[in-house]
Symmetry: none
Subunit: 245 residues, 2 copies
């Protein structure tokens, strides 16, 4: 599976290039290309900001023009918020990275363009892309900076890589109590609470007991929970029988 | 549909609070709560950084303690990267926001906790949550800052705006206890069990208490469950004080 290239077109501030490198590496992307960076290359401010992600900058390709940076790309996405007069598919990051994965799985090189901080991509840049990616931001407050935009696209790339269905992760490692363990806990609670005079009046006792059993049965108790509750009950009896107040 | 509250726990830098407000508003979230902000409240640096999103700060609630901030919450997510010894479901942002939408669709108040910049949430904070949210970052470069973490969770909330998961049906009609109700139950249990001498030896008492809070926080207790447990505790005390054996 070939990894997409993140292509920063005429980036301005070194700090933003460094932050973009961090955002890429957060989600496992390592291929950066830089087109006509305003302040030259390498950029010490970018390196300082990238910190632990400076290897992304070290390996980055530097190009004078966008077409040179796209030489080996089979498919190019242009990230832009503004509507365009250009006829071009417009996708969410989700849909775009789904498509990118399908292309990458076939060994295709995908490029993702990000424009200069202040102005974004020009029509001349976008014209070189196969599709537009637009993040579904709040139209009343659409401002995303360069690194945030990279972060969201990289997140989508990785999110879709997860081989485990999200549900599988949810309860991994939890040692739930078995039926017999919950049953014995229910017995213990019922016994102590009966001695404590909880099931009163007598006519209501059966339904109170059923409701308590139902509660223990419904709650996702772990083995540790069950042990804790047994310990609490034992201590309550010791207390009753003359322990500390 | 009730919108989740973004709860910043002991945030340090005003700039990060402002950036978090921007990240929220980018994806249409407006409800911020701030717990014990290090530099007081309101925070001029937060306002300066928030810029167009300063209305999120203006409307933010300021709380001294986490339990106060969770009073009306029916379900709480804790964002944390580190593995925990606490037993708690661990979800991706995707799965978590899917669940949050199902809850919100029923009018339930959801809270999402974000920890202090340097240290993240403490176990005592996480113990009050129903589930943990972990962003699936590159394990070799997992550093996400506070605003980035808020951005990704807010993005997931909005991304799923169009879809209503089937869980919405499954939870219909269940009258879950709110944060303040679970907190008071936790207080009551702790009080009675302390009187009963359960938290022994003293050196282990704090972790025993956190584990108990974690259990109540994690279990999907209904209002009726909470009332039953209060009733059991009251009866135990009456028994101790000379009731029937």
């Amino acid at each position: 599976m070939s990894e997409p290239a993140v292509i920063l077109v005429r980036p301005q501030m070194g700090e933003n290039i460094g932050a973009a490198a961090r955002a890429m590496l957060n989600f496992g992307l390592t291929r950066m290309r830089v087109v006509a960076p305003r302040d030259g290359w390498p950029n010490p401010k970018a390196v300082a900001m990238a910190s632990g992600a400076s290897r992304v900058l070290d390996a980055a390709g530097r190009f004078d023009t966008l077409p040179e940076a796209l030489r080996d790309c089979h498919y190019v996405f242009a990230t832009t918020a503004r509507g365009r007069e250009l006829t071009k598919p417009v996708m969410t990051p989700e849909r775009a990275m789904e498509h990118a994965r399908a292309l990458a799985a076939e060994g295709k090189q995908v490029g993702i363009l990000f424009g200069p901080e202040r102005t974004g991509l020009e029509n001349d840049d976008v014209a070189r892309a196969d599709a537009i990616v637009t993040v579904p931001v709040n139209p009343d407050f659409p401002s995303l900076n360069l690194a945030q935009c990279v972060l969201l696209v990289a997140y989508e790339w990785r999110r879709q890589a997860a081989e485990l269905p999200p549900e599988a992760m949810a309860l991994a490692g939890t040692d739930f109590a078995t039926g017999i363990e919950v049953e014995k806990l229910g017995d213990h609670v019922e016994d102590v609470m009966a001695r404590a005079g909880f099931f009163f009046p007598e006519a209501k006792a059966p339904s109170m007991k059923v409701n308590l059993r139902n509660m223990w049965g419904r709650l996702p108790l772990t083995r540790a929970d069950v042990q804790t509750l047994h310990g609490m009950l034992r201590q309550i009896v010791r207390w009753r029988d003359g322990g500390p107040t």
